[in-house]
């Protein structure tokens, strides 16, 4: 059933539980399967009633769906986590230094570590950010680093999310749901808390307020609106932080600031946690067709009147072509070897790499450089001949749009099925908060799981589910 090379995070090959899962295992063995099945349904009811839903893209009538939740937690030991979090912090600091540099003197290009074309030909590079100094020097206030595990001690960074990473509400609601359904589990395991995230987020954003701000900055969350796929999360975070959830049409420029229309008049915003993409952020400066943004917000930003989190133009750091340079980037800015490894990546813009990729399409994962959400991607080993032929054409037509990576043997964690526990592939997205004086990583993160047997696609839009992620106190 499973290839022997694949790490099962719960069990050793001999059937005994790995250390972090020992307590869970003994609890599980004492449980009645029918009770657990009922709990699994109960979890779904909780999600539906709470409205933890997402809208599916590309459907006329926005349809709300829940992301399937699996009741088996994904458990990491404190020691495993410690190493990860050191690597994550190093990487996030490097990303911020890289962004500062790219929008200022571009020393990394002058030094030859990153070819000029990677930036000059990159649509994610935002000229309007050149020479801008974001308040507190922070570009990426919120980062999600996607990790996969392939061995006891082997984690890879799959991608960096430096624009507007989503999913943190699931991390929090998954924990709430588990606490509600299985309080006894938390009594026998010392699980590091994630619940402080909203407060930490507020603090972190407030610490990046511009100098014009009052002692207690006004923070707001900007959402594209209730039809956005992540609207629940936007409302959730605003609610949990106790700040306003605004849309573009609630905002305008008043006295040189971005201000929101309240029942008592316009009130200036100091820090805007925006969940609207760069292109749509400001019709005066970017896409004039956008109705989601605020005309003039970039002008206010450049004049120092507001903090936009994440800063515009951060996409240059999580671009998949730049990704392949991350080991160099980490080393250039931190002076240390990267603690977290990159997945070996072929840049198809390079003709030798392209030739290799075309010869080995059956074994590789091919991704669009600017794609996200698991769309526009080819997984060689499971793809049909037709898909492979299609991608061959795409690659030949626009090689610079693609990168390729080997298929990794992602680790598995069991999910609860009708028949009991069954292994499924997982990834992990830890969430990182960056403020001018600290980097804060919530223990754990969001574990996404491919619910289909053998599948490696964990994206919620394509049949993925989520799990509560535990980091144990050692």
């Amino acid at each position: 059933m499973e290839n022997g090379d694949i790490l099962n995070e719960m069990w050793h090959a001999d059937g005994s539980a790995r250390q972090p899962y020992k307590d869970f295992q003994s609890w599980f063995e004492g449980e009645d399967l029918s009770r657990l099945r009922a709990k699994q349904r109960e979890a779904e009811d909780i999600f539906r009633l709470t409205g933890i839903t997402f809208n599916v893209y590309g459907r006329a009538q926005a349809e709300e769906k829940i992301i399937p939740f699996d009741i088996v937690p994904r458990i990491l030991s404190g020691r495993e986590w410690q190493k990860l979090s050191r690597g994550i912090e190093q990487r996030v600091r490097a990303i911020n230094a890289f962004l500062y540099d790219i929008y200022h003197r571009q020393e990394i290009i002058r030094s030859g570590r990153v070819p000029k074309e990677m930036i000059s030909k990159n649509a994610a590079f935002l000229p309007a950010m050149i020479g801008v100094d974001p308040p507190g020097g922070v570009y990426t206030h919120i980062v999600g680093i996607d990790l996969v595990r392939t061995g006891e001690d082997q984690f890879y960074v799959l991608e960096d999310n430096a624009r507007t990473p989503s999913g943190v509400s699931y991390m929090l609601e998954n924990r709430e749901t588990m606490l509600q359904m299985f309080p006894e589990l938390f009594a026998r395991n010392r699980v590091q808390a994630v619940q402080n995230y909203p407060r930490d987020l507020w603090r972190s954003l407030a610490a990046s307020a511009p100098s014009v701000s009052n002692a207690t900055p006004t923070v707001a969350v900007l959402t594209p609106g209730i039809y956005n796929s992540a609207y629940f999360e936007h409302a959730f975070l605003a609610d949990q932080m106790g700040v306003e959830l605004v849309e573009g049409h609630d905002l305008r420029i008043v006295d040189g600031r971005v201000a929101m229309r309240t029942t008592r008049g316009y009130h200036p915003i100091d820090v805007l946690y925006r969940r609207v993409d760069d292109d749509f952020l400001d019709p005066l400066n970017f896409n004039p067709e956008s109705t989601l943004g605020v005309p003039g917000i970039m002008d206010v930003y450049r004049a120092g009147g507001i903090t936009i989190a994440n800063a515009p133009g951060t996409g240059i750091a999580d671009d998949k072509a730049i990704y392949s340079y991350m080991p160099e980037i980490v080393e250039f800015y931190t002076g240390e070897k990267a603690i977290l490894e990159n997945v070996p990546t072929w840049r198809c813009s390079d003709s030798d790499s392209l030739a290799y990729v075309l010869d080995n399409l059956n074994d590789l994962v091919v991704k669009e450089v600017h794609g996200s959400g698991g769309y526009g991607m080819l997984i060689g080993p499971t793809a049909t001949k037709k898909d492979i032929a299609l991608f061959r054409k795409k690659l030949q037509a626009r090689p610079g749009n693609y990168i390729a990576q080997p298929t990794l043997s992602l680790s598995t964690v069991p999910v609860f099925t009708r028949a009991g526990l069954a292994p499924r592939h997982v990834d992990l997205r830890p969430f990182v908060l960056v403020s001018p004086n600290s980097v804060n990583i919530t223990p754990g993160g969001l574990t996404r799981v491919a619910l289909k047997k053998g599948s490696l696609v964990v994206n919620s839009s394509q049949g993925g589910g989520t799990k509560d992620t535990w980091v144990l106190e050692d």
């Binding site: 009633l49 709470t50 409302a235 605003a238 049409h249 929101m260 229309r261």
Partner: protein, 313 residues
């Protein structure tokens, strides 16, 4: 709070109130249909009028058969005031203002929507109708209960109450407007059972029959009914009660928003005008003119609230 949020709250509660009122109208209509022999299309027609949805109905149907009227009022999404439409709308607004609601209120609203969707996606059979109607009212009542029990008494709450009472006053005034003639003294035909049924209909469509009996016993007179539904400040659906609540809530908002708002003056006028005079004055002025005038004032007040509190730019 954001002007948009005040708007969302206002309409969320207007919609919930409307869901309840419309389901009550359907219930009343169904009761007449069951207790009366012969053609009931006039009754269904006046119910559509009361609900303010007759012009849309006329575009889709050419007769007033009970089942088509019920379907229009209850489920049809082409009718923006159908129970299904307004519950969707309430929930949509609740999502929009999620950060202004307590967890309990949101869950009650979402639960109301989920339950309504479950029962209203397919046509409701005559047998299921009482159950479904009861369920809608129960679920809406749960939202109201969660609101009372968990929401802070701040401006958010005030806008919720304003929405509720604008809608409720409007509904009561509409019922009176459509049926005013059966309450006119000249129309009184002693011993006529027809009028008794009409009076009963009015009271039932405002859930006022029990309260009325408690106050006036079984001796029904149209003047008493008018007094009860228009002026009785203990009756939670009377015009005077609603007007007074509107005034009260606007005054609460003065604390945070200042007292210079035209809507406050309008609410004062509504309370201190005919609603503070004896019922006979209203009859003298003309019940029809009174209801028309009141409907216009409510609509004007509602628009002024939107302006005073910057619901829109």
């Amino acid at each position: 709070m954001l002007g948009k949020t005040a708007n969302g709250i206002f309409w969320m509660y207007r919609s919930l109130e409307r869901a309840e009122n419309t389901s009550r109208l359907v219930e009343t209509g169904q009761r007449i249909a069951l207790t009366r022999l012969g053609d009931t299309s006039d009754e269904w027609r006046s119910i559509l009028q009361t609900a303010g949805v007759i012009s849309g109905y006329d575009q889709h149907y050419d007769s007033y058969a009970g089942d088509t009227v019920i379907d229009w009022l209850l489920r049809d999404l082409n009718n923006s005031s159908s129970v299904q439409s307004v519950i969707r709308n309430a929930r949509q607004n609740a999502r929009l203002v999620r950060t202004a609601l307590t967890h309990d209120v949101w869950e009650a609203t979402n639960g109301c929507y989920m339950e309504a969707t479950k029962h209203l996606t397919r046509k409701v059979t005559e047998r299921d109708l009482p159950n479904v109607l009861g369920l809608v009212r129960q679920r809406a009542a749960l939202v109201r209960g969660a609101t009372h029990g968990t929401m802070l008494r701040n401006d958010i709450y005030d806008f919720a109450r304003l929405g509720t009472f604008i809608e409720r006053a409007d509904n009561t005034a509409r019922i009176l407007d459509v049926k005013y003639y059966v309450l006119l003294p000249s129309m009184m035909s002693v011993g006529s059972s027809i009028d008794n049924v009409q009076w009963d209909t009015i009271l039932r469509s405002l859930s006022a029959n029990g309260g009325f009996r408690m106050e006036y016993g079984s001796a029904t007179s149209p003047r008493d009914i008018a007094q009860f539904l228009i002026l009785d400040r203990r009756m939670p659906r009377s015009l005077a009660f609603c007007a007074n609540k509107l005034r009260e809530n606007l005054h609460y908002l003065e604390n945070t928003h200042g007292s210079d708002k035209p809507s406050i003056t309008m609410a004062e006028d509504l309370v201190s005008g005919p609603l503070s005079r004896p019922i006979d004055d209203i009859f003298d002025q003309g019940l029809h003119e009174f209801t028309q005038d009141t409907l216009a004032k409510i609509a004007k007040l509602s628009r002024q609230i939107e302006i005073d509190f910057r619901f829109y730019e």
